[in-house]
Symmetry: C2
Subunit: 641 residues, 2 copies
């Protein structure tokens, strides 16, 4: 072995630290831009193809349907029809309820399950996602819009604002994808999303108490304290017991169905159709008993007919224009995060690739199209996508089937919903959002990372006790704080030699690793940038001080060499070079030699560009820690002699 360290410590083979091949500036920027925007090499399929083939591939890139439709067959169709029917039966009652969360008429929920899924089916690359309105985004849109316009006093303007927000949410989503800025959604951490979703689920469930208990005067705030106050105030006037009986019995039915579906995966369709059965049975029951005359609130009237055109209703100027952009931006980002997370999850389960940026273009286009046809923001639904997957969907055709069923419903069946009790919709929503509370994930987060858990809880309590926006703000703020923390305080470690090897490892993790007398070996575990360069220097000096004190106490020889193991230092900027220079000067004054081990390509390049390599002399830059120790040991002996 060439890096063997002979007993006399000298005469070892010395390997050169290579300077990477010199790249031009243009090539530098190109490869940097490629990693940032095109790290998934989206154009690799286009290489070495004929022009005609390239055009076809281009069309296929925008409309994946062109690709898979040619391989479509009857077997796939059967799976897609079954799963499409299943998610349709699940989405119809949910849509009616979710529209209420957005302070909109029930029909807008149904509209949003017709046009967007059709657009997505043509452009989207996920095979399992079920498109339509979802609870959290509906609540968020409702909360944000109500802060601007009162939906009861000015229903027309409110509706126009909702369409405007939907339009800009779509523009925003498609824009992110088109500019290949999709990585921006990675800045919402998993932990924050878990907390936010859990909090939103609780908030939504609490909102359902209105319908579930038959309360007439309900607070417009969403925090738990205001809601509970409303509930207990209403208790004095008596809740409506008929409503409660209906709601509670069907909620029990739906939850039992869910439980059955969980126990036996083959019975996935039981929880999937339970809501629709509840709606049918309870509607029939109310119609027979005319319980609505006993104070049981019902849906009353849903307009018949499919989506009217709404293009002329979008605000393109005036005071609501800006608000629409703002609300669209926020709600669009949350919708995007949810949809992309779903698409990625199922793609990983079936092992196919999702291009996040293309997915965003599809989602954005579908929302723009939706805003022109009376829909509000649609996205991927966790619960319906899971059902879609379990029901055996093969392609986005299941979304088409669902859209057709919803259209049929809009055309022919809506009058039948007249006597559907609101309590049933409340029960359906409660059972649906319970799935968003992911306690297992929270426990795992607690086990893995305490800081992540704080982020999770911050978002959760922010949503539950203050409001959805504040909770979202807290999630984003904590996510960013964590990133900043990471770059400000990189870890450092003291290395020691594992007995019988040439391997140097963290002495904290490997207590058996021996520190080499006269040497201090520090590994810096991060790129050295302006945000941490001072810390790195000061922390290194503190290590030195501590180790010097220890060496003095134990009577070991004084430290004469500080070796910085640079393997993890992937990059360095001007501030970082300054810091190394200052460290070098401070050490020189103490007659200690600074040594660098294994700087990477970028760092080596910059050490030379900045002349720091000359300053500490190239002979003090080694390929490995072992070689550095071997080469310096004879000099150490001289010092001690």
């Amino acid at each position: 072995m060439a890096n063997t360290n002979p007993p006399d410590g000298g005469g070892s083979v010395r390997h050169r630290v290579a300077l990477p091949p010199k790249e031009g500036l243009v090539k530098d920027f190109k490869s940097w831009g490629q990693e940032l925007f095109f790290h998934d090499a989206p154009l690799r399929g286009f290489k070495d193809q004929t022009a005609a083939k390239k055009v076809l591939l281009g069309i296929q890139a925008v409309f994946p349907i062109v690709g898979w439709v040619r391989e479509y067959n009857l077997r796939k169709l059967r799976g897609d029809v079954i799963s499409g029917l299943t998610i349709a039966s699940l989405c119809i009652p949910q849509d009616i309820g979710y529209a209420k969360l957005a302070n909109l008429d029930p029909k807008y929920g149904l509209y949003s399950s017709f046009v967007p899924p059709l657009v997505y089916a043509g452009m989207g690359s996920s095979r399992d996602i079920a498109i339509g309105p979802v609870a959290v985004v509906s609540l968020l849109l409702g909360t944000l819009c109500r802060a601007v316009i009162d939906p009861v006093d000015e229903p027309d303007d409110y509706l126009r604002l909702a369409f405007t927000a939907t339009f800009f949410a779509g523009i925003f989503q498609a824009g992110l994808g088109f500019l290949r800025l999709g990585f921006l959604i990675d800045f919402l951490s998993h932990a924050a999303v878990v907390g936010f979703m859990g909090g939103a689920a609780i908030t939504i469930a609490l909102q359902q108490l209105k319908g579930f208990l038959g309360i007439k005067n309900f607070t417009k705030k969403t925090d738990i304290i205001s809601v509970m106050e409303s509930v207990f105030k209403a208790a004095r006037h008596g809740w409506n017991w008929q409503t409660i009986v209906i709601g509670a019995s069907f909620l029990t039915f739906i939850l039992v169905a869910k439980f059955i579906g969980k126990k036996n995966k083959k019975l996935f369709w039981v929880p999937a159709i339970a809501p629709l059965i509840s709606v049918v049975v309870s509607t029939f029951f109310v119609f027979i008993t005319r319980a609505d005359k006993q104070g049981v609130q019902i849906v009353k009237h849903i307009d018949q007919g499919i989506n009217p055109i709404s293009a002329s209703q979008i605000f393109f100027s005036g005071k609501y224009f800006k608000e629409g952009i703002r609300i669209g931006g926020i709600a669009g980002m949350v919708a995007l995060t949810e949809a992309v997370a779903i698409a990625r999850t199922f793609a990983a389960m079936k092992d196919y690739q999702i291009d996040g940026n293309k997915e965003m273009i599809a989602l954005g286009t579908m929302n723009v199209a939706g805003s022109l046809t009376s829909c509000y923001i649609a996205t991927g639904s966790f619960s319906r996508s899971a059902v879609n997957y379990m029901a055996g969907c093969h392609t986005a055709v299941s979304n088409i089937v669902m859209a057709i069923v919803v259209a049929m419903t809009l055309l022919f069946i809506t009058p039948l919903f007249k006597y559907t009790p609101n309590a049933i919709l409340a029960a359906i929503i409660i059972s649906a959002v319970l799935g968003l509370i992911d306690i297992d994930a929270a426990v795992l987060i607690w086990k893995i990372d305490k800081l992540d858990f704080m982020a999770c809880m911050g978002a959760f309590f922010g949503v539950v006790f203050i409001s959805v926006e504040i909770g979202l703000l807290i999630s984003v703020a904590i996510s960013f704080a964590k990133i900043l923390l990471q770059v400000t305080r990189p870890r450092t470690a003291i290395l020691g030699k594992l007995p019988g090897t040439d391997v140097y490892r963290n002495t904290y993790q490997y207590p058996e690793a021996n520190k080499i007398p006269g040497f201090l070996i520090i590994r810096i575990d991060s790129a050295i940038y302006f945000s941490n360069s001072n810390y790195v220097r000061e922390r290194s000096l503190r290590w030195l001080r501590e180790e010097e004190e220890e060496a003095k106490e134990v009577g070991l020889p004084a430290i004469k060499f500080v070796i910085l193991e640079m393997s993890p230092v992937t990059d360095i900027d001007t501030s970082g070079i300054h810091s190394l220079e200052e460290l070098h000067k401070s050490l020189e004054k103490k007659e200690i030699q600074l040594i660098l081990a294994n700087p990477g390509p970028t760092v080596t390049e910059k050490l030379h560009a900045s002349k720091f390599a000359e300053e500490i002399e190239e002979k003090h830059i080694f390929l490995t820690v072992a070689e550095a120790v071997a080469a310096c040991s004879p000099k150490l002996a001289e010092h001690q002699a």
Copy 2:
């Protein structure tokens, strides 16, 4: 060597990857908090001391003067008096000019060179910094305050706003230090500061054209286009040639003096007293010739007497209260950045330690005290600190000497400044701010890091072409963008074996390193967090795809093992673990085994907490890449057989 890889590839010694000692939650948080807030171990001196000694050390920690005054001697006093007189002669004319940048009467500049340096001398730990008003902060304060109140129409309220901003700047600075949040200023990157300072210097120099050319109607904007318009408009009415002659000749004199000082370090006092000589000579000249009657603008009148109390003038309510907080926050942060950078630079040159947080408390207290005694924001001046250092200062006593000289000036000499021509002040300011344009630094930044250079130029052009605030905003935004970029797109590298060693290195940097057939060895150069976990997974799969294609072309055996070299992965969060799980699943489907090499302590802990270690089986986690290759080679042979 135990990690030797015998020719048959089997039978090598296998080292265990150690789980670090289990720490309690409290200890975890404690060590984390310590690194974040107390990484410099500020209390280490207090350990093992008697109670009385601890009290003394405590007093000394807040007032370092108590410590060094006991070792003070005549030799040090001589150095401090000389340097104190030198910086006083430099600061008096500068103060008068800088006060104008802040739209304040000249006396406020002098006030700010009296109280703040005295407070700093007692509390500060830098021995070389020269305290007082500086050009950039004066301009920033002036610009921000003028946007709120017109200094000509409402001079009283304007003055009160300036004091209010100074008060809150001080509160803000001391608060950051007290809460040990000093690391926040590290988020302004060196490159952005270089650009911002250069831009501000140009802006300030352009502003001086008013005094230098004797222009009466000058724009209130600071961008270069508005200023040049003003200058050329005024040209039609004729600039004042007498003013120009005076200004130009003394500017030449000062610049020649600077040049002499640069050539011969011993003549440092020549450029230091040149401004004062210019003031004296030109004032005398104007007084004799009564050039002020020819249109040469003069200072006119400066009130006699030292700082009056201004505590009652600070806004603590009303609309200007909030503005004061905002302006104080921005200007205070910039002042802090400048002062801490100066303190650190000179501390490194003389090799003593600066506690950034304690320094901030000193600077903040001094500004609060200043705001109560008619001063505006003071901080460390680059140019005067350098003169102070070269003149041989030993302690902060030089600041005390300077303050006394300024007080004498205020008490007795101010009437003599009556005939000082404004053009001289303009010449002094121009020569002073030219030093802020650091072309060498910009060139070095260009050489080292192109992205940093973009940040530098962004800040520069933002200040010059738009405004100081926008320039500052651009610097901060670019600094943050760089941090975010760093955490979103970590580097990855393909490793190969250096011939004749067991060392695996980046094949891009070391083209001689050999890839091992059947293996793909990827090093991930960053902690894996939510912000990059998707990228890491997708990038790894892309490396695999590319290498598989290459292997197929060349006819090498298919890849059966993907080794992730985890040495640089210092931490992982829940999203990161998810990503590894997904990567593992994707690889399993291709019958490729995922192997981890050398996970660090935190990562090892989390791999176990999340059960992922069990999932990929512990036998697939190795201490080094070499051991992993050695252990897996026999299996690879089976595959190929």
